[in-house]
């Protein structure tokens, strides 16, 4: 074997590899290759999703309303703007009439994903009935109810323009597993179906009830809700995952708010990317044999530090009825149902 031949051969290999690499750059869109080596190839998890065209606000009609007061004399209790200029939504920060005039003409469809697996089917009726009364009244709403037992879903009358789709999913013996798989299920569902049907998507827990209006003030690109247990507490006490081995690890010096896993949402494209990212992180942890302290809520919190939400909901939108209502919260809109967690999760 001559040196020249060897040199020529290696040069040819290099050239071929580089050209293939460059080609990959252009062709990757059509490659249905799994990005994560230990994840089973799953075409719908990797396909390019075409989302609905974004509906932009139209000029507003002439309205009568009082002038906003720029120089507030009375101190406000709750913070209304995050340091990255995302509004924090609470009663008094917005004008419902205004927002109604801005959003109603857009003919939006709002999706809601809700999971009722095992004994959690018990909560479906109260969730749906209260949602019918308070959630996005006047808009088209599509509930996506994921359950292992479609027969257990009660018949709840829905208003006009509001639909319920029951999607069967696999149950699981461990409640933590059921909880964590929601991220995967939601992102796959968006890719397969929801991206064509809705403009915005909210992912809500089922063991909750609406008590007051939940309207278009909650619509944003990427929406998170502040957990009711931690809004008055220093970040070192947030129940972040603190083990470095986990991909949900958050250091003591990091963190803005502790967000609740029971409420998040936004534009369907952003929710897709968010849930997908969380699911990848959960898989990485699985491969390393670790489960984050609060399951997908830990991963959600990790991700929201890196990808700051564009709209933050105050604890009015995610309350725990076992807590007394503080004077800073004027109106509780969505809160937990009193329940025996141990029995439910058995």
């Amino acid at each position: 074997m001559t040196r020249r031949r060897l040199g020529l051969g290696l040069a040819f290999c290099l050239f071929a590899s580089i050209s293939l690499w460059v080609l990959c750059g252009y062709v990757k869109d059509w490659l249905l290759v799994s990005y994560v080596p230990y994840y089973l190839p799953c075409p719908e998890f990797n396909m390019k999703v075409q989302f609905r065209r974004e509906k932009l606000p139209q000029p507003m009609a002439q309205l009568q309303y009082p002038q906003p007061k720029l120089l507030e004399r009375r101190p406000t209790e709750l913070l209304t703007l995050t340091p990255w200029l995302a509004p924090i939504i609470s009663e008094g920060t917005f004008d419902p009439e205004f927002l109604k005039n801005m959003y109603q003409p857009l003919n939006l469809t709002i999706g809601v994903t809700v999971f009722a697996v095992g004994k959690y089917t018990y909560f479906i009726r109260s969730f749906l009935e209260s949602a019918e009364e308070f959630f996005m009244r006047g808009y088209q709403v599509h509930y996506y109810l994921f359950t292992h037992d479609p027969a257990a879903v009660p018949r709840v009358p829905l208003g006009p323009g509001r639909l319920l789709s029951i999607i069967p999913i696999q149950g699981h013996s461990q409640w933590e597993e059921i909880s964590m798989r929601r991220m995967e299920t939601i992102s796959k569902h968006i890719a397969e179906r929801a991206h064509q049907e809705v403009d915005y998507l909210f992912c809500l827990d089922v063991d909750m009830v609406f008590h007051n209006q939940w309207g278009p003030e909650t619509l944003g690109d990427l929406v998170a809700a502040i957990h009711p247990g931690y809004f008055a507490v220093p970040r070192q006490q947030f129940p972040y995952e603190r083990r470095q081995a986990s991909s949900a690890f958050v250091a003591d010096s990091e963190g803005d708010f502790y967000y609740g896993g029971a409420v998040f949402g936004g534009r369907v494209a952003r929710v897709y990317e968010f849930t997908r990212g969380c699911h990848m992180a959960i898989l990485a942890d699985k491969a390393n044999g670790i489960m984050a302290a609060w399951q997908e809520e830990s991963h959600l919190n990790r991700r929201f530090i890196w990808h700051k939400p564009s709209t933050v909901l105050s604890p009015e939108y995610l309350w725990d009825d076992r807590k007394p209502q503080p004077p800073t919260l004027k109106m509780i809109r969505f809160s937990t149902v009193d329940k025996n967690t141990n029995w439910l999760r058995s």
Binding site: M1, R5, L6, G9, L10, F12, C13, S17, I18, W21, C24, G25, K28, D29, Y35, K48, P57, M60, Q62, L63, Q64, Y65, Q67, P68, L70, L71, E72, P75, T76, E77, L78, L79, T80, L81, T82, P83, W84, L85, P87, I88, T93, F94, D95, L99, I226, F231, A232, P234, S253, E254, G255, D256, F257, A269, E273, R276, I305, W306, H307, S314
Partner: protein, 329 residues
């Protein structure tokens, strides 16, 4: 394999080639970012915690009723915002008109912009002038460039002011759309004296006029004659915005400037000129197309006229003293 059964050079190469290819393909695929628009992953940063029960400013409104932030000092953390915009490789265009004698303001405007405007980001200055030879040479930092656009002048200063809308609208379509992400449209007879950065960027922003931020809507100098396209009735209006500093995404600025220009053409055909010219039309537009961010008067101040009230923590973009009579004729 050759006839004697020994693997020869060709089979060795045949073995190396697919191996190399596989390695490179795997790396390119594994390392490539997920192809979803707008993934902006911030790096690890340390900053003090946001306290939900401690409003940043107790003395002013920081959120409009339509949930647009009102930008005051203390409401934002510039490090987070800088990172968010840098990761998207944001380019900002700054349009400024230096027609006739107004070229004399360019040097100070550009020099102070170099010190305070969008530092650390890519900036393109678009200088509209009828005297390209009089544009001063100003040293620009890295990632910043200046483009001179030669345009016609008008004999009346009101027309010079109003035709800015037409020119910005025209060039937005032709040029700005392909060159920058956001446009900021500023008056030239001003200077930057403190930070003006990415906290102002959003789809559409207007700036509160320093003379009216504390006034009731009845005192706003809107156009009040119904015959004009800029007409706003007495019981309407949120804020009085200043025509000297507005902007947004190129698409939104194009819509705004086009609408204002068409409204002014309509007014001219009906033999009427709005009381504050392009500013009146801007206010009409922003009343019905709510801005997604509102800048406090920190971003538009005149120290000579208004002094320095305690509510202004910073004066960022301020008027340069001038003789109106001399400069406008």
């Amino acid at each position: 394999m050759d006839l004697r059964g020994r693997p020869n050079c060709y089979s060795t190469h045949l073995g190396i080639l697919p191996l190399l290819v596989l390695v490179l393909v795997f790396f390119s695929v594994a390392v490539r970012e997920l192809d979803v628009r707008e993934i902006v992953t911030l790096s690890r940063m340390t900053y003090p915690q946001t306290r939900a029960l401690s409003p940043s400013r107790k003395d002013v409104l920081v959120l409009t009723p339509w949930l647009a932030p009102i930008i005051w000092e203390g409401t934002f953390n510039i490090d987070i915002l800088n990172e968010q915009f840098r990761l998207q490789n944001t380019t900002i265009g700054l349009t400024v008109f230096a027609i006739k004698k107004y070229v004399v303001f360019l040097k100070l405007f550009l020099e102070t912009a170099e010190q305070h405007f969008m530092v650390g980001h890519k900036v393109t200055y678009y200088v509209f002038t009828d005297r390209p030879g009089d544009v001063p040479q100003v040293h620009l930092g890295t990632g910043r460039r200046l483009v001179v656009l030669t345009v016609r002048n008008y004999s009346r200063w009101q027309d010079v002011s109003m035709h800015r809308m037409e020119m910005i609208s025209h060039f937005s379509e032709q040029r700005f759309l392909h060159e920058v992400d956001y446009l900021v449209c500023a008056d030239v007879d001003m200077k930057f004296r403190d930070h003006v950065g990415v906290e102002i960027l959003s789809a559409l922003f207007g700036t509160l006029h320093p003379g009216f931020y504390n006034s009731n809507r009845g005192a706003f100098t809107y156009e009040r004659r119904p015959k004009s396209q800029a007409y706003i009735p007495w019981d309407e209006g949120d804020f009085y915005y200043m025509g000297a500093f507005f902007g947004g995404s190129v698409v939104e600025v194009h819509h705004l400037t086009k609408a204002c220009h068409e409204a002014m053409v309509e007014d001219k055909a009906n033999g009427i000129e709005a009381v504050w010219h392009d500013e009146s039309h801007l206010n009409k537009y922003l009343l019905y197309h709510k801005p997604t961010k509102v800048l406090s008067p920190e971003y538009m101040w005149d120290q000579q006229l208004m002094g320095w009230p305690s509510i202004m923590k910073k004066l960022r973009y301020v008027a340069v003293p001038k003789n109106h009579q001399a400069i406008r004729n």
